[in-house]
């Protein structure tokens, strides 16, 4: 089977998985379903010849499932039935999104077809990477050398996110008692 068929199979599987994850009433099943979708992304990366990403996606998937389960599972959780207002909102949203989807067909026709990217910039990396950076992994050399500034930004994003999460979790505010009184 060609790669494309496999990919259609995997992405279709992911579509079903994500709908299941959103619609399931049970929280643990939903988290597991979205975990499976993430592993599907990892598989798709592998098929699309991106092993770096497959590894990172796989690991981050494990990591985020662990923290989501750890954070949420022991809460006394009740899922609620869908209300009336919700159904109206849902209907409007679905119609709008279907319209966007149909419009997007024109866009994807105008883009280069699957399997034939333009490669004008990328060709330079493929040809010159080994001689210029002496790194065998071209993705690594782009991430850390040609576009190292992006990675500095990425490291900062992670630092900000972690600092932010710690601030949100462990902040002992002077106003805390007052806030508690209100809730």
């Amino acid at each position: 089977m060609p790669v494309e068929t496999w990919l259609i199979f995997i992405v279709g599987f992911m579509l079903i998985g994500s709908i299941a994850a959103l619609e399931m009433k049970d929280l643990l099943s939903a988290i597991i379903a979205v975990g499976i979708v993430g592993l599907g992304v990892s598989m798709a990366f592998l098929l699309l010849q991106a092993p770096d990403l497959a590894i990172v996606q796989f690991l981050f998937e494990i990591f985020s499932v662990v923290i989501i389960v750890r954070a949420f599972l022991k809460k006394d959780y009740h899922s609620e039935g869908e209300g009336q207002r919700n159904r109206l909102l849902g209907g409007i949203t679905v119609l709008t999104l279907i319209a966007v989807f149909l419009l997007s067909i024109r866009l994807f026709k105008a883009l280069p077809p699957f399997g034939k990217p333009l490669m004008t910039t990328a060709r330079y990396y493929l040809e010159n990477c080994a001689s210029q950076t002496h790194a065998a992994n071209i993705v690594s050399s782009i991430v850390l050398d040609y576009r190292g500034y992006d990675t500095l930004g990425e490291v900062t994003v992670l630092f900000t996110a972690i600092l932010g999460a710690l601030t949100i979790i462990r902040l002992k505010s002077k106003r805390k008692t007052e806030g508690e009184g209100q809730s």
Binding site: P51, D52, A54, I55, V56, L59, F60, I62, F63, V66, I67, R70, A71, K74, K75, D76, A130, T133, H134, A135, A136, N137, S140, S141, V143, L144, D145, G148, Y149, T151, L152, V155, T156, L158, F159, I162, A165, L166, I169, R170
Partner: protein, 149 residues
């Protein structure tokens, strides 16, 4: 069970043996980031997962006692500052921000590719420490501030 938080003895023993292998594998991924798939991020997450493994098996109280969390907390911004310092060194040595400052070496050697290896190690340390600190804080949160009752 109250005196011994965490999982059973078997799980603890297995964890005790396997965690070093996992950490070793994480370092392997980091050090071969420029030759094989992987790199600082992947390796860092592997190391963080190894610590997480210990925490799941032994319980977070034990981990808090064993590991110096505030040191790990400080290691993260130091790694960030080191990354930035590498960039500034690039300016200082005349190449421009984030220019290569380390000898390039030969292709396919482990110690090659200049900045890439150094930055991979910095990122690996940073990611491992940062992610572990986040998980650790999420774990202790419920006990200190009464997340659920």
């Amino acid at each position: 069970m109250k005196q011994q938080p965490g999982l059973t003895l078997i799980a603890k023993t297995v964890t005790r043996i396997s965690v070093w292998l996992i950490v070793l594998y994480g370092f392997y991924i980091i050090f071969h980031g420029h030759l094989t798939p992987g790199g600082g991020f992947a390796g860092g997450v592997v190391i963080a997962l190894a610590f997480l493994n210990v925490m799941l098996a032994y319980g977070h109280e034990t981990v808090t006692r064993w590991l110096n969390i505030s040191f790990m907390h400080d290691l993260e911004p130091s790694a960030g500052a080191l990354f930035l310092t590498m960039g500034i060194l690039g300016i200082a040595l005349g190449g421009g921000f984030l220019a290569n400052v380390v000898h390039r070496g030969t292709l396919f050697n482990v110690f090659s590719s200049g900045n890439i290896l150094v930055l991979n190690i910095i990122i690996g340390v940073k990611v491992a420490m940062g992610l572990f600190v986040v998980v650790w804080s999420l774990a202790i949160f419920r006990f200190f501030e009464g997340g659920d009752k």
